[in-house]
């Protein structure tokens, strides 16, 4: 009988991913600190290393504008077209080098390195390949469990100069050093409130958590915390997850660039979000039976009246036809809209998704007509070839007055022919 090899996981994580993406096409900013702002240029959601000591996460842009300028920090609106494309490049390079990969978020993935003779060398090669092919620096953490691999990665970043960006915690000595020198708050899955609770019990470091009684953790917290502790102690409890199954819900929600008080522009926005949501629906070849539309005012400004409401609409039959979906969504706005409020956001949610053939229809049920499916196919092909929004519902304006504020956006260097990087 073959003996089972001990599990080895790697966590590969891009350093300050959004800021790094901006720097690939702005070499003049290689040594200039960068922050990236949330949708609508609201607050800071990402910082380069050299910006971290000066700016906190979540700081509102309008409050720090002058400070950024004084410190010479450059701000960008979030450019998800660029970040998404660069992420795909990084992930496909990793997938081309390693047999099993779980993409965990836009800037990190787990990989299975079980049975590889020199995982550190593999990590170093991967690191230099990714930085050469994309310009994005990454850190690699290697360990016998996913939770330890996260911790190894955190250590690789913290001690960048000493580790060269690759840390292996498969050895007992390294593992115990890192566990003793990492506060429990930095452990994967331990939130702020749990940290306080753990500290109250005298569990201050990752080592304290690793050596706590598992049954006690299960009783006081949950089975998740027990698994975390077991993983820190070196017993693998979490497997590499399979790639995402089809989404069960599809959402498109955005803040408006300014407060809206009338119904007409809100209808336009909802039609626009539905255009996008139905594209996602057809991309995964699903139909939807229900649509939820919700609108709300700002929630944090004490001087504004607050209101939020949503409604679920059931469609006559499961469909992916944007015309039917848009009509349902726009009608729904009439049901939830109340005059006299300043609205800041709308959301469109597609629910009750099914694959074709999954729903049994009785003899008299109406189905989506075949012509509608053909029209949708043509719509997607046209927009695929000439760019999103080329062909759209008449209720979707091309340059809406309520569009998201993205005044500091860089170009879509990798996804738009008219915005490519210009080289002299």
């Amino acid at each position: 009988m073959a003996t089972k090899l001990p599990a080895v996981f790697a966590l590969i994580d891009c350093n300050s991913f959004y800021a790094s993406c901006e720097r690939v096409f702005r070499p003049d900013l290689a040594k200039v600190p960068i922050v990236v702002l949330s949708n609508n240029d609201g607050c800071v959601i990402a910082r380069s290393y050299d910006a971290k000591p000066h700016i906190k996460m979540g700081e509102p842009y309008f409050q720090i504008k002058d400070r950024l300028e004084a410190l010479g920090i450059v701000a960008f609106s979030s450019n998800y077209a660029l970040y998404g494309d660069m992420s795909e490049r990084v992930m496909s390079l990793i997938e081309s080098q390693l047999p099993a990969v779980e993409v965990y978020s836009i800037d990190e993935c787990f990989a299975d390195l079980t049975g590889i003779t020199d995982p550190c060398e593999v990590g170093r090669q991967l690191r230099s390949k990714i930085v050469q092919c994309t310009g994005i620096p990454v850190g690699v953490g290697i360990a016998p469990t996913k939770t330890l691999a996260k911790l190894a990665n955190y250590t690789a970043k913290r001690l960048q100069a000493r580790t060269g960006g690759v840390v292996n915690l498969c050895g007992e000595r390294e593992r115990s050093w890192v566990l003793r020198n990492t506060p429990v708050a930095e452990v994967w899955g331990v939130g702020r409130r749990m940290t306080l609770h753990l500290q109250g019990m005298g569990i201050m470091t990752a080592m304290d958590l690793a050596s706590a009684e598992p049954w006690m953790l299960r009783k006081k917290f949950s089975v998740v915390m027990e698994k975390t502790a077991r993983e820190l102690a070196g017993t693998s409890c979490l497997e590499l997850d399979e790639p995402d199954p089809l989404k069960q819900e599809i959402c498109c929600s955005r803040m408006f660039g300014k407060r809206l008080t009338a119904m007409a522009p809100i209808k336009e926005a909802v039609a626009t979000y539905m255009m996008r949501a139905s594209e996602k629906l057809r991309a995964q070849r699903s139909y939807c039976r229900k649509v939820r539309v919700s609108i709300r005012t700002g929630m944090f400004n004490p001087d504004e009246a607050k209101y939020a409401n949503g409604v679920v609409v059931t469609l006559p039959y499961p469909t992916d036809d944007v015309r039917l979906l848009t009509k349902a969504a726009v009608d729904a706005v009439e049901l939830v809209f109340r005059p006299g409020f300043k609205y800041s956001k709308a959301e469109v949610l597609l629910l009750d998704l099914r694959q074709p053939g999954e729903f049994t229809d009785d003899l008299f049920a109406i189905n989506q007509p075949a012509e509608a499916s053909r029209v949708m196919a043509v719509l997607d092909e046209i927009n695929g070839r000439w760019g999103r929004g080329t062909l759209r519902a008449a209720s979707v304006p091309s340059h809406p007055e309520w569009a998201m504020r993205r005044d500091l956006m860089s170009q879509s260097y990798t996804t738009r022919l008219d915005q490519l990087w210009r080289v002299g």
Binding site: V90, C133, G357, R422
Partner: protein
């Protein structure tokens, strides 16, 4: 006698290629055995590879090798640049398209247009190679 109602068959995940040629009722087409994939420029230029980027050329300093202002250039970042390659270089953080010439220990960025002098890279210069140009694409007006 019992019976069970079978629901409609769910669509499987295996997608079969669609054969676009017609099957004639009379004689089989002699070309059937010789069908090939259609030509794809994406494949020729490796445009979908994670290490390949498209850039726009802005300037006429490389027109001697047929790269004109406004042309698209395909840049491969996985290739180690060698003497004689046309590259995208970062010279003091400025992205430029030049021919890389390595003369002993000296590095020269050569233009392909007599209007522009070659740039001898000096001690104070900051040079890195962003990628190697593998193809360029130009539109001829239609």
């Amino acid at each position: 006698m019992g019976f069970s109602l079978l629901g409609p068959l769910a669509e499987g995940s295996v997608r079969l290629p669609l054969c676009t040629f017609k099957i004639p009722a009379g004689f089989p087409s002699p070309a059937t055995d010789h069908m090939e994939q259609p030509i794809s420029l994406d494949e020729v230029l490796s445009l979908r590879a994670p290490h390949v980027y498209l850039v726009t050329i802005d300037g006429d300093s490389m027109q001697g090798v047929g790269i004109f202002s406004g042309d698209l250039a395909v840049v491969d970042r996985s290739i180690e640049a060698a003497d004689g390659d046309v590259v995208v270089a970062l010279l003091n953080n400025e992205p430029i398209c030049k021919r890389l010439c390595i003369r002993g220990k000296r590095v020269v960025l050569c233009s392909e247009n007599p209007k522009y002098p070659d740039h001898h890279v000096l001690e104070g210069d900051d040079l890195s190679i962003w990628g190697v140009i593998t193809y360029s694409v130009r539109s001829h007006g239609h």
